[in-house]
Symmetry: C2
Subunit: 340 residues, 2 copies
Amino acid sequence: MTELTVQALQWTGTALKVLDQRQLPDTCRYDEYTDANGVAEAITTMRVRGAPAIGIAAGFGVVLSAYQHYSANTDGWRQAVQADMEVLAKSRPTAVNLFTALDQMASALAETDATPATLLACAKKIHTDDIAANYKMGELGADLLTGAKGILTHCNTGALATGGYGTALGVIRSVYDRQPLPIYADETRPWLQGARLTVWELAQDGIPATLIADSAAAWLMKSGAVDWVIVGADRIAANGDTANKIGTYSLAVLAKQHGVKFMVVAPTTTIDWAIDNGGQIAIEQRHQNELLPACYLTEGSLVSAWNPVFDVTPADLISAIVTERGVVLNPSEHGVRSLQ
Amino acid sequence: MTELTVQALQWTGTALKVLDQRQLPDTCRYDEYTDANGVAEAITTMRVRGAPAIGIAAGFGVVLSAYQHYSANTDGWRQAVQADMEVLAKSRPTAVNLFTALDQMASALAETDATPATLLACAKKIHTDDIAANYKMGELGADLLTGAKGILTHCNTGALATGGYGTALGVIRSVYDRQPLPIYADETRPWLQGARLTVWELAQDGIPATLIADSAAAWLMKSGAVDWVIVGADRIAANGDTANKIGTYSLAVLAKQHGVKFMVVAPTTTIDWAIDNGGQIAIEQRHQNELLPACYLTEGSLVSAWNPVFDVTPADLISAIVTERGVVLNPSEHGVRSLQ
């Protein structure tokens, strides 16, 4: 089992240390947060990103709130923590893990004997469960990849995006452990998670990686260099439709046209059982300044940008959804619900 | 007819002024070249880019060589000019306009009464013919777009890429003149020609433009916002297969899957009559430092990049090729050869 080489989040006992991923790979700097508002801001500003990591960070954000407001004598502190949970819930809209984690923390908070210590235990369990799920998915995903000749991945789904090891990147780590093979990573505009994070993480583990422009993926597929695309997910509907980083839908359409298989790797905390299909997923639009050169950001400018940072891949373009509870091939509602 | 708002190349009478497009949109600076080697370097380093503009620049490069080496009394100067033409021919491999222009200059050089003045006349004719072709293509292309609701374009194919007005962007200018409609531009990694040049050019002409990440094109198509993709070309084979900026092939596959039409706009100087299909086109691979963050460019780095800057779109994914000699719908060798 590969050791964890990098951590997006570190709990100090009194604070949450968050690796500022916006500064990678040049600078590896942790910011320390001691209240829920700070953690919410770290999520909104994408110091920490990746659906599972966002959920884990929010869990510790609730713990910090409890530390701040707890009183052994009254129940008023619970309302203050609930108010902070509402702030955390508004930090980003698309990844369902955020809401799944907050639901778990809300249940812990609702226990009559809830204390900061019991909430901390819950947050730590969210974290360790995620790591365990990732190792399990790594093995299950690698089992599907016997004989694969090359893999393309998108965005960052590694240790930096999760509690550790990674989802799609965990599968890539696992399969590479069994048999080295070429790994390609999309740059992943506009934040360049592929260029800044994914190839950096892989190199930390001694895995060679080749970066490509997002728009070169079709030409790479046509060259025959890859037979699998492997991605993570921010939210999966009950029928298997999958919201993930913008560009994922494009890759899925292109993969189908080139006979390349398409794997989604995500823990069951990423499945939104309450929605039947991907049409019900809120797609985050981020500010146009993430795309536009500064000179266009003037009053009356004729240049604008359309910046949806997620898209939805229909289930019928997905070859396999890999979760810690098992693999669903050619996903359908029946298959996905069998994991529930 | 829209006025020309920007010029990539200016002939001063004794020098070629080249707008350094790498510095746009922040800085609008011309570099002045007085010999062919300088012009070749301006092409290789992408101060000037775009298939037609490269051809025109090379034409003036030959003129500068003639100025330098001409002697009324001997024929030795022709060999010096030929040697410079070989340097120019090696400046970039994919755009055939470079070789078409050099062939025209070679014919002028071979005339018994060739002088720098006759070569200058030939270079100027290459330039003015290109502008005339662009205006003609603008009208022919716009004729196909009656009732279009939105257009997506890729890379830069405007005045900056040509003698003036543009190929695909000329069509967009022409159709917008007739009836304003939404125009979307891909960023176009790795050089960001869309973000830096295309939306800038459009804004100069008062045309609003919306920038998107390259990987968002499929999601844009799925939204129904565009019904045409319009691109230029660097080389078109006799059967209609088209080499163009990396990402073009991806857009063509995605367009087909979304019922979006796909138009290639290029003067007949971009058609390589000598090759039957796109498999024979040399695809330029540029240095990986165009994609890789600097920290990976170290000895022994496990991170590399694959950086093909063109791809080939098969003719069967193209709805129309628009040239100054006419339009070929659903291009085939028969249709393309009819333009010869």
